[in-house]
Structure formats: structure tokens, C-alpha cells
């Protein structure tokens, strides 16, 4: 290939559509069969970064990950939470099936979030690393991506939806929005070509299942 074209394709603004199912990437099933069919390899990519872009918090973005986190926790590796916006509630995590002996909460006022995320991702001792970075440029995210590749963990980054316009080295990027009882998931990057920018509607287990109206 012409070297100039090759250099152009290296530029972060370009995405290369994945042709066909990429079965070489190890994955962790998300627990949602409809989502799994859209994700290359059939689940959340291991050893890579996944960006989850949300416009406001607590719309169900965590419950999207819970089945996978429960399965990963049974592999006896750490599930690391780096500076979450609130404290995860232990009884709720236990109810989702997460083994709490694998929970690692790293949080401190004013700490370097990206450093901690990089350590956790690169260590090889984490099954999943969830982080809420404040401001991250392409270069620092690329370091996280490389750390994830070294350590083999599923890296999840929660970022505001405004970050969708920026280039990112993450393997998988998706936006999550809520519409009544449904989660609207749009994959911006990392799925098969024909699934790009289509909205997937998921119905995770709803909190009020089993309740009667007051």
C-alpha cells in the first residue's frame, strides 16, 4: 500500500470497519444475547478498552455490565472500580451475583485517576477495570488501551456523551440512553459494519419487577 495512504489510515480520526466477525479477540459475554450478536467476538472485548458514553448518570449503564462483571468475578481476578461517582452498594452487587471478595475500590480525593486505571489494567490481575476519568486526551487513553492489552482485563470507561465527537483509541465505543423501560444502545465504533449507528433496544431486568404500584 502506498505509504502516504498507510500513514493517513494511522490517523486517529479514521476508523476501519470490521469486516465479518472478528473471532480472534477473546471476549466476555455481556449477558444480553441481542447485544452479543452485535459485538465482534460475541461480547465485551477482553484486553481492550470499551467506552460507555452517557448523557446523565444512573440511567442503567451499570446494569448493562452487571452480568459480565458477575461472570468475571467468578474467575477470581479483581474487579477494580477507579473513582466511581458514588459508592457501589454491596447488597445490590451481591444480588447481581458479583463475588464481593474480588471487589477493589480505589478512590481518593485528588488522586491521579488515569494512573490508577493504568496500573490496574496492566497488572494482569484484574478481570475488569471500571473507571470514570475526568478529562482524558487521546494520548492518555492510548496508554490505557496499551495497558489493557498487556494485562488482559476488560477496561470500561464511563464518559459524557460530549466525548463522542472526539477521537478515541478504545476498541469499542457505545452510547447508552434510557427511554422508559428500555436502554437504547448505539455502537459508535467496534461492531460489524452494518450495525454501526443503529440503535439497539435492550430491556434489562427492571428494578420494579415484582413490585406493586403504590
Amino acid at each position: 500500500m502506498d505509504t502516504r495512504i498507510a500513514q493517513l489510515l494511522e490517523h486517529p480520526s479514521f476508523q476501519q470497519g470490521i469486516q465479518g466477525r472478528d473471532t480472534s479477540l477473546p471476549t466476555q459475554s455481556s449477558g444480553f444475547p441481542e447485544l452479543d450478536t452485535w459485538l465482534p467476538g460475541g461480547g465485551w472485548p477482553r484486553g481492550r478498552l470499551t467506552e460507555i458514553l452517557i448523557d446523565r448518570e444512573a440511567i442503567g449503564e451499570l446494569s448493562l455490565l452487571m452480568p459480565a462483571l458477575a461472570a468475571l468475578s467468578r474467575e477470581r481476578r479483581w474487579i477494580a472500580w477507579i473513582t466511581p461517582p458514588h459508592i457501589p452498594y454491596a447488597p445490590a452487587l451481591a444480588a447481581w451475583g458479583v463475588d464481593l471478595t474480588t471487589l477493589l475500590l480505589v478512590t481518593k480525593r485528588g488522586m491521579d485517576r488515569l494512573w490508577a486505571a493504568e496500573q490496574a489494567l496492566a497488572s494482569g490481575m484484574c478481570g475488569a477495570v471500571l473507571s470514570w476519568p475526568e478529562a482524558a486526551d487521546f494520548r492518555r487513553l492510548r496508554r490505557l488501551q496499551l495497558a489493557a492489552e498487556r494485562g488482559g482485563a476488560c477496561g470500561f470507561l464511563f464518559r459524557p456523551q460530549s466525548a463522542a465527537a472526539e477521537a478515541s483509541p478504545a476498541t469499542l465505543r457505545l452510547t447508552v440512553a434510557r427511554q422508559e423501560r428500555e436502554l437504547i444502545v448505539e455502537i459508535l465504533k467496534g461492531c460489524r459494519g452494518n450495525a454501526l449507528n443503529r440503535a439497539l433496544r435492550l430491556r434489562p431486568d427492571h428494578a420494579v419487577a415484582g413490585y406493586s404500584a403504590a
Binding site: E57, A90, A92, L100, S123, G152, A207
Partner: protein, 470 residues
Amino acid sequence: MLWLGIALPSLPLDLLCRGTADALPLAVLEDSKRIPRVLHCNGIARRLGVRPGMSLNAALVLCPGLRYRHHDPNAIQAAQERLAGWAGRFSPRVSLDSSQGILLEIEGSLNLFGGLDALCRRVAEGVTRLGYRAVLAVAPFPLAASLLARGGQAVKVCSVDELTACLGQLPVTLLGLDNTVREGLASVGIRRLAELFSMPRDGLARRFGPQLVDYLDRLVGRQPDLRPAFIPAPSFRTRLELPAPSEEREALLFATNRLLQELDGLLAARASGIEGFELVLRHASDEPTRLYLGLAQPGRDPRHWLDLLRVRLEALTLDRPVEAIEVRAEHWVTLPGTPGNLFEVTSIENGTRLLERLQARLGEAAVRGLTPVPDHRPERAWRWVGPGEAGPGMACPPRPLWLLSDPVPLDNWLPSNWRLWGPERIESGWWDGADVSRDYFIAEAPSGECWWVFQERRGAYRWFLHGLFA
């Protein structure tokens, strides 16, 4: 029996040079006739014109940037003992040699280390990592090994016949003999050991005393030569002076690594590990800076310690240059077996290294785990624990994934188009004074988010937000 002699020809200078990777002109001084004179100097100083025997003032004129220290016999002795302790990882029988060297009995260790060449290579690499220049020689007898090493002959002699041939090359001045005997030998024209071997024994005994004959007998094994074994103390407390005061992190790590390698050897010799060590950075004045590095599990891995130390030093700002560093490791713990390989470990039981790295930089309180607690009151149904220490909880109705640290009062009641699901009545805690009586609801917004709210069942019957269903 097979003996390995390690001679350190430039130990006083090495003690000064090992603390830095930089190319600095260095010299060791002694006081002779009350004037400090250069005793040894390194290659860089020599190229600038400094020579042993020169006075300090003259040396400074030729080389203004010269770094120097006075000769310290105590430090030399201590370094020799530490090296002997470190060498215990290669042999159960280490002895101090009379002059700046050590002896190891290695016949029993050959199988473990894969042969004589492999063992000697490992010893040589290890001594280099400690920062010393050494000559290694192997012989069937301790005195012969020591002499060959001191004579600069890095040979491996396994049979007695080869031994006399190799020893023959050495000058007679190398033997540790009295002045009278030495002068006597010089006057007769005996310069090399080969000539001495060819002399008749009773003639030598008559002329130079039985001491010389006894020495030669011990040299070739005709007489036994017992060497007392050196047993190091089970603690480590060592100081290394930096040739030039420095605040650079990499320079400090370089110097600390020398001491950590010594500690590693000592621990390996006793199949022990440490749970932590203290690093003291001494400055020119005032208080030293003390750092304690604790390990989650007792272990023995200088690369890991250096790694943790690097992380810790990144978080530390040094405002004064460091002149000397000390490493102290007092409490040693017997390790059951060899530590596992870092790169194969992925499970939590062995994987404390990530925790140690995070805690080294952020502090222990920043790295925690959670456990559910069997209590009906939601804010008490969980608590902080150390990572991995979670216990069982109890079954309960659906709970939100985020719990707010304190319930937030809802001043205006929720808009009417929100649906409320519930109630779940929680009344509990009368026994410890923090009793609650609340009705919990799941409030569902039209857009679909769910909040966990409650209404107090006493007092002002206020509404609060307690959690978010994420």
C-alpha cells in the same frame, strides 16, 4: 572439597563508586604524615592526572571536581561481612579471607547451580550487580583459591597437579609472610612460587622458619586448613554514601538497588523474606527522610521492591539533596518455599502486587473492598473492609447500585408524573440508638430512571433520596 576464592582488589574505591552510575572522578584518601594523600583513584581521576600518593591539594588542583572520602577500615570490614552474608546463597560454608576477600566451599553446590562454570558465572554477575570488581578463582584448597584470586588469576583448578603449575606463576610477594622472611627470600633471589616449591623443605625450614613450610603445606593440601564459617546476623542495617549529593530519583534508586541486592542475597541464604523495609535518606543537616515500604506478603524480590520504591518516590518531593541512604530490614520471616514467578500469577490469592503498588502511591485507605452486613437499615447494610475480605450478606428486595453517602432531602416533592412502587417498610435499630422507621419506594421517572426514595414515618414525614438504580 572445592573452594571458590573471591578477591576484591579495589574494595575501598568500589565502596565509593558503587553508589552512582555517573562517571565521576573519585579518590580514597588516607592521612599520611598528617597530610591527606590519595590512596586509590578511579580511571577518570587517573586520566586527569591524579595519582596514588599525591597530596589532596595537588589532586584538587588537577581535578577540581574530584569527589573523595577517607579510607575507613570499619566500612571495609563491614562490606566484606555483608558480601560474605550475600554469598551464603551460593554455599552453606562461607569464610572471611584475611584481606578483602571471601572464600566459599562450593563442591556441594555444583549440582544445584548447574556445574562449575554456571556457578562461577552467577557469582560473578551477582558481585558485579553489587557494585564490586572481583576476581574469582577455584582451587581444591582454600589458601590456594585465595592466593590465585589475589594474584589476579581467574582460573578454575580442580586437580592438585594443575594447582602447582598455576601457583608457580605467582610472585612470592603475594604470600602473607613476615617482613624478615620476605626480605630473606628476596636476598636469595626467589621471586616466584615455582622456585619456592623446588627448594628442599628442611632447608627452607632451617633458613626461614617453620611458618613458611607450614604455609606451603596448606597451599598444596599437605596440611589441613580449617576455616571458620561466617554466620551473618539475621538483620540488615546498612548505609551507603553517595559520592555526590543528589535529589534525582533515578540516582537514589540506583544506589538503593545495590543495598537491596545485598539484602536479597542474605535473605536467600537463610530462606527468609521480609514484610517490609525502611529506607532512610540522610541529608546534610536536620532530620533524615524516612520511608517505610510494607509488603502485603513476606517476600524476597528486589525488582519488586525497587518498583514499589519508584512509585513511592514519584509521590515524594525532595527539597534537600541526599548524601547517604540507609536500608534497614529487621524482622525476617522464614519463607515456606520459593516465591512464584510474577508473570504467571493472575489470581487474587497471589496477586497482591497490584494492591501494593496502588497503596504505595495512594495510601492504604484509598484501596478497599466492600462487604454486605446483615442489617435491615440500608446505610448499615454495608461497610468498608480490606480488599478481598467480604462476607455474606442477607437476602433483600432489589437494591440500587449506587447508594448516596447521606440521604438527600427532597424539598419539593417529586412531580406527579413519577410513579412510585412499593412501599417497603424498614423499621429497625432500636437496640443501638440509631433506629429508623421508613417507607422505601422506587420512584420511576417518565424518562425511565429509577430512584430509591424513602419517607420517614415520624417527625416531619419528610422525603429523602437514598440511592440510584444505575
